[in-house]
């Protein structure tokens, strides 16, 4: 699975700032348990994929949902390059995450398995996270 947009309007975008908490995507909707970010940050498509693989292995038979998508192209300039000469080339894709965003969800498995899976995923991410449970009402 290619974890990047199929088509973009612009190849490069500005860094932007991540201010405030998440006002959407902060509740568990599809699974029974979720992994909620406690920090703002960029999560690379590689990290997201690594998390998905880790969760699938830890919770075989479970249903893993990734709630974020790496829409943002992150550029960098090559090593040993003089400053200037414009913006660097896109290196990887990242999902922007605010505090409160539910990044992964897992369903269809027991609580212990779900917790283990989310713990394995948490180790792949560069933001601190917490486990959250779906609210019945």
């Amino acid at each position: 699975m290619k974890n990047m947009p199929k088509r973009t309007k612009h190849r490069k975008v500005q860094k932007g700032r991540l201010k405030g908490n998440a006002t959407r995507g902060h509740t568990v909707e599809f699974g029974d348990y979720g992994l909620q970010s406690l920090e703002a940050g960029w999560i690379s498509s590689r990290a997201l994929e690594a998390g998905r693989v880790a969760a699938t292995r830890a919770a075989p038979g479970g249903r893993i949902t990734i709630r974020v998508f790496p829409h943002k192209p992150i550029t960098s300039i090559p090593a040993e390059t003089r400053m200037g000469k414009g913006k660097g080339e896109p290196e990887y894709w990242a999902a922007t995450v605010k505090p409160g965003t539910v990044i992964y969800e897992v369903g269809g498995v027991d609580a212990d398995v779900a917790k283990l899976a989310m713990n394995r995923v948490a180790h792949k991410l560069k933001v601190s996270t917490r486990l959250v449970k779906r609210r019945a009402r």
Binding site: K2, M4, P5, K6, R7, T8, K9, H10, R11, N21, A22, T23, H26, T27, D32, Q36, L38, S44, S45, R46, T56, G61, G62, R63, P73, K85, G86, E89, P90, E91, Y92, W93, P99, G100, G107, G108, V109, R130, V132, R134, R135, A136, R137
Partner: protein
């Protein structure tokens, strides 16, 4: 099937003096939660309740509460609870005045019992609706509805109309159709073994307005302008 019925718990509330977000924030800082009480043709009442008592009450399965406002008790249903981003603190609650003998429409949580046949065959139990809408008298709202999933086979589901409801409780067909699947067992997705060719380098980016395909000349490499 149904478990015990919900009992009514009394919560003390006092009228709010101010209104608006600034006043609400001040109230929350003082350990109070703004709530609104409406319905039955009476004027809306903007109230404050004790945060700790309200949060403890909301953790129970009960749906009918008794609000004690200046010595006057009113039975009410919780219609909406607003939480903060992290789901830790209650920000606001909507209470709906209710007559205990009238029929009300409420959402009742489902409690899964047993292990589905389809799960033992390798399927995944998916809860599509953790609660269903029912109609019943306000004084006989079930705390939760137990749903036996042992007979669900792979690829099958229990629909809202098939959930066994206690006497006096019916499905609210205006809000939830009987054909709505609530719990299903889905077959596991076939794992596709990724070949090294599938793993595209992270640096690949589609050019502006283009959709990169596997064909030649569209490998996703960023175009370089002359003079760079």
């Amino acid at each position: 099937m149904s478990a015990k019925k919900t009992s009514s718990e009394s919560l003390k509330a006092m009228p709010r003096e101010g209104s608006g977000s600034r006043d609400s924030r001040r109230a929350r800082r003082d350990g109070k939660i703004p709530v609104v009480l409406y319905g039955h043709g009476e004027a809306n009442a903007h109230l404050l309740t004790d945060a700790h008592a309200l949060e403890l009450a909301l953790r129970t399965e009960q749906q009918v509460f008794t609000l004690d406002v200046n010595g006057k008790s009113e039975s009410c249903l919780v219609r909406e609870v607003q939480y903060d981003t992290f789901g830790l603190n209650v920000l606001h609650v909507d209470f709906n005045r209710v007559d205990l003998k009238e029929e009300v429409e409420v959402e009742v949580a489902l409690e899964i019992v047993g292990k589905a046949k389809g799960v033992t065959e390798g399927g995944t139990l998916v809860t599509q609706h953790p609660a269903i809408w029912v109609k019943c008298r306000a004084d006989s709202i079930p705390a939760h509805l137990e749903i036996d999933v042992t007979e669900i086979e792979m690829g099958h589901a229990i629909h809202a109309g098939e959930v066994k409801l206690p006497k006096g409780v019916t499905l609210d067909e205006d809000k939830m159709e009987p054909e709505t699947p609530v719990i299903a067992v889905v077959a596991p997705k076939a794992e596709v073994e990724e070949t090294p060719d599938d793993e595209a380098p992270e640096g690949e980016a589609p050019a502006e307005g283009e959709t990169p395909t596997d064909g030649e000349g569209s490998d996703g490499e960023p175009e370089k302008k002359e003079g760079d």
